[in-house]
């Protein structure tokens, strides 16, 4: 059901620009107004959400320690998985953000007769996730070529590396193949792994299918349909320089691609995709495990009703005296 609804939503998102630019001549709407609106929503929404998170205090120091703590000098600390310093935490976060350290630990449980439970390393999710995110990043950066003249040397270099295998013409980018494979894997996993299907919502299928739509239209544009790159770059340069122009010669497929990207940007701040900035603010990962070394301050630490020793002794004084325990007030 969730999959069907998501597919339907994607279909609508494809048809809209198709009709809009193919029949109704709304190129300016789809080429300029919607992209600008999406970017504004993205930036404002994202900044709003991040500021909202950042404004919520972190009352307690609650890192999840995933290795040996810093204690006695002769016991080797696991600095990467249980850092106690700022720089250690930076390293832990870098491993998490760049290489998905925690997903790398993933195991799969199996229950056999006996009962006998085993846990085997299961790196597929890690691999799929890493492949998708890195490809996406590289593809994103590669697109800078549409927004800069001359194309920065590092974008060129990245393209060169990405097309390293020099297969086909135009040269096939590794990331294009990888992102499709990774997204397909992540999607099929949601459909065919019964547990993952059980937890999946439209909120999960929709962005996945949206990304697949973006990748597919992008690949069609590059490899299969004649596309006027010069015209697209003109549009890109116009958008980035805030002097938007809508050249002719841009096919509906490009507007579909652009519209899906716009939807992704607009949807981003309102969705789970916010895990991207969110991971940096996760208190179980971004805090050093030094709570016994340095006092962590809770900004809303208010007084609570406690039971004092005086009250305790008042209640039990006679019993304490009889038991020979020392007293504060022996009367």
């Amino acid at each position: 059901m969730s999959v069907v609804l998501s597919l339907f939503a994607i279909a609508v998102l494809v048809i809209l620009p198709l009709i809009g630019t193919g029949l109704l001549q709304l190129e300016y709407l789809f080429g300029v107004i919607i992209p600008y609106a999406a970017i504004i929503l993205f930036l404002v929404g994202m900044i709003y959400r991040i500021l909202k998170w950042a404004n919520v205090p972190v009352p307690f120091r609650i890192p999840t320690s995933c290795g040996q703590q810093q204690s006695l000098s002769w016991i080797k600390q696991n600095e990467l998985d249980n850092p106690s310093t700022f720089w250690g935490t930076v390293k832990r976060m870098a491993l998490e953000v760049l290489f998905f350290r925690s997903l790398f630990r993933n195991t799969k449980v199996e229950l056999r007769e006996g009962p006998r439970i085993s846990y085997t390393s299961d790196k597929w999710l890690w691999l799929g996730a890493l492949a998708f995110h890195w490809s996406f990043l590289i593809i994103f950066v590669r697109h800078f070529k549409f927004f800069a003249e001359p194309v920065p040397i590092w974008v060129d270099t990245l393209q060169l590396l990405d097309g390293f295998f020099q297969i086909g013409l135009p040269i096939i980018y590794v990331t294009d193949a990888v992102i499709l494979a990774a997204l397909t894997y992540l999607f099929l996993r949601r459909i065919f792994n019964p547990l993952v299907r059980y937890i999946s919502l439209i909120n999960d299928y929709f962005p996945l299918l949206l990304l697949m739509g973006i990748a597919a239209t992008g690949i069609l544009l590059r490899y299969f349909l004649k596309t006027d790159i010069v015209a697209i770059k003109e549009l890109g340069m116009g958008l980035i320089s805030l002097h938007p122009v809508v050249p002719d010669n841009i096919g509906a497929l490009f507007y579909i691609h652009l519209f899906l990207v716009s939807v992704l940007f607009a949807y981003f701040p309102f969705s789970k995709l916010m895990h991207m900035p969110g991971v940096f603010l996760s208190p179980t990962r971004n805090m050093a495990n030094n709570s016994r070394m340095r006092r962590h301050i809770n900004p809303w630490n208010y007084p609570v009703k406690t039971h004092t020793y005086e009250e305790y002794e008042d209640e039990f004084r006679d019993l304490m005296r009889a038991a020979g325990l020392p007293l504060e007030k022996d009367k």
């Binding site: 229950l111 846990y119 547990l195 789970k272």
Partner: protein, 552 residues
């Protein structure tokens, strides 16, 4: 126990990791006997000034809820979203990748899909989505939003009291989403309308009044300690001195109350007393700070703070320099991650220095509280103890990392170092079941009741199964641990799944191996069981291993 419960094989047989065809959004919770905890009694709530005390049980059709309970819960949620970044961020960023799904011991032992950490969180997140997010407000159920109904509340009660806040899921989550945080919030929200469990609120009320969960009054505390002193004298021939509530000592020693009251904790308590006597430690215990454990952690941040306050207060009153803490899991989560923040600064104490080795405990310089395993490991490293590990030769030992010391602290190698110095037969369980990946006993976070036994045996299955593995392979017959809840709940768990294996504290092994000056000839251990030193023990172990191999 045996006649009411299914046989272990049967219990395991009906565990299936395949969810039902229908989605999870529309709840109907079945309160099956053996899988839930009884409600909090009004007297405990009254004593603690908690709202809406009522006489009810979870399986009752009608729950005594205040008229505006939804409003209260949602208001409480709004309030906590503004107070805890963890809560706010964890509500927002889960991508439901499913990495956590099969990491929870309750899921592994029950196959109930709502025990997948992600879905446990979704029980709350679905309410959050509907009432606190833009898309959820517009799209409602289409965006995974749900209305807060009595059925949802019942489901919360069932599943948030089926989470032991062990944090194992958080180790595997790519964003570190910690279900313990979410469970804590859910429990706080339910507390607002008087929905809580007895096994948390009664110990908390006891602790508030008498200083310990068991409700032991000061003279009873002294009796228990005197009894231990007597027992230790019978075993070793040495009469140790244990000061109570005395001012002017260097160290305040705080333990979980089960240590001086329950079996097998007690033997570890004897171990502490023997150790302190032998090194001549200048310490006192306190009948007021007679509980290091803190069931407030399982109730609410406020309750945790209220119960924890006595430790610094008593250290100040008695004028000690620093505090030493015994073996306990959740107690150490509170001491390590919360105490200083909540009830500090402890500026009236000094930075802890071992009076025996002069080692500075730099890692505890602000909180001024040292874990007994850090303390003892330092003593052994500096050759301050005379140990004969052969005295534990009748034990083939494995070590169970307790959830909180491992995942909310990282105390992993200290106890292992100690065990290796006090015993000759130490074998680790498989790597995915120890250290930061350790499995909960299945009874933590206030769930260790008799009425909840079936669920405990299910939740404890992954732990017990790993013990069984080393039992069959190496003949392991003793599971050492450093947690009072473990020591209380692992024995029945192992009796069910691995009947040939016992449970002990690390300091029971220490005490047993400790050669005390002037001790009498010993041929039994602290439990009165015969010690078999050296070759004879090796031979017996080999026989046991062979038998286990043949059987397995």
């Amino acid at each position: 126990m045996a006649e009411k419960l299914p046989k272990p094989e049967q219990l395991a047989e009906d565990i299936k990791y395949s969810p039902p065809p229908k989605d999870w959004m529309d709840p109907k919770t079945e309160f099956k006997k053996g899988t839930f905890n009884y409600s909090a009694v009004p007297s405990a709530l009254d004593y603690l000034d908690l709202p809406n005390p009522g006489k009810w049980q979870p399986h009752d059709e009608e729950w005594p809820l205040p008229d505006n309970w939804q409003e209260t819960v949602l208001e409480g949620m709004r309030d906590r979203l503004k107070k805890y970044r963890s809560f706010q961020v964890f509500m927002d960023i889960c991508v439901r990748c499913g990495a956590c799904a099969d990491k929870c011991h309750y899921f592994i032992g029950s196959g109930d899909p709502k025990n997948m950490p992600v879905l446990r969180a979704e029980l709350l997140r679905s309410i959050y989505r509907r009432d606190f997010t833009t898309i959820g407000k517009i799209l409602g159920p289409l965006a995974g939003g749900r209305k807060l109904t009595v059925e949802v509340l019942k489901e919360w009660f069932f599943y948030f009291y089926q989470c032991t806040e062990c944090r194992r899921c958080s180790v595997f989550c790519p964003y570190g989403i910690d279900t313990a945080e979410i469970t804590m919030m859910a429990r706080e929200l339910m507390n607002l309308i008087g929905i809580s469990i007895d096994w948390i609120c009664t110990p908390a009320a006891n602790c508030f009044r008498t200083g310990n969960h068991l409700g032991i009054q000061p003279h009873g505390f002294k009796d228990s300690v005197d009894f231990a002193v007597g027992d230790l004298e019978d075993i070793t021939g040495i009469k140790v001195d244990v000061p109570i509530n005395e001012k002017g000592h260097e160290i305040l020693f705080v333990v979980p109350s089960a240590d001086y009251f329950a079996d097998p904790h007690y033997y570890g308590f004897l171990g502490y007393l023997a150790l302190f006597h032998e090194i001549g430690l200048d310490y006192t215990m306190s009948s007021f700070a007679s509980e290091g454990g803190n069931f407030g952690l399982f109730h609410s941040a406020d309750m945790m703070k209220r119960l924890n306050a006595k430790i610094y207060a008593e250290a100040k009153r008695l004028g000690v320099k620093w505090i030493l803490g015994g073996e306990c899991g959740h107690m150490w989560r509170v001491l390590h991650q919360y105490m200083d923040t909540m009830n500090g600064p402890a500026d009236f104490l000094e930075e802890p220095v071992s009076p025996i080795t002069k080692t500075k405990f730099e890692n505890a310089k602000s909180t001024k509280m040292v874990h007994i395993c850090e303390f003892t490991a330092d003593l052994i490293k500096n050759n301050k103890l005379k140990l004969d590990p052969r005295r534990n030769d009748h034990r083939v030992v494995t070590f169970h990392d307790s959830c909180n010391p491992s995942r909310a602290m990282g105390l992993l190698d200290e106890p292992r170092y100690i065990i290796e110095k006090v015993s000759n037969n130490f074998f680790e369980m498989p790597e995915n079941t120890i250290r930061e990946q350790t499995f909960c006993c299945g009874s933590g976070a206030g769930l260790g009741t008799d009425e909840n036994l079936e669920m405990r045996l299910r939740g404890g299955l992954p732990r017990a199964n790993a013990v069984k593995f080393v039992h069959d392979k190496y003949g392991v017959n003793m599971l050492a641990c450093i947690c009072a809840i473990d020591k209380a709940t692992l024995p029945p768990l192992l009796e069910y799944w691995v009947p040939e294996c016992g449970v002990c504290g690390v300091h029971e092994l220490v005490g047993n191996a400790l050669l005390m000056k002037g001790e009498k000839e010993r041929d039994t251990d602290y439990r009165g069981e015969p010690m078999i030193l050296g070759k004879k023990a090796e031979a017996e172990t080999e026989v046991a291993q062979k038998e286990a191999k043949d059987a397995g």
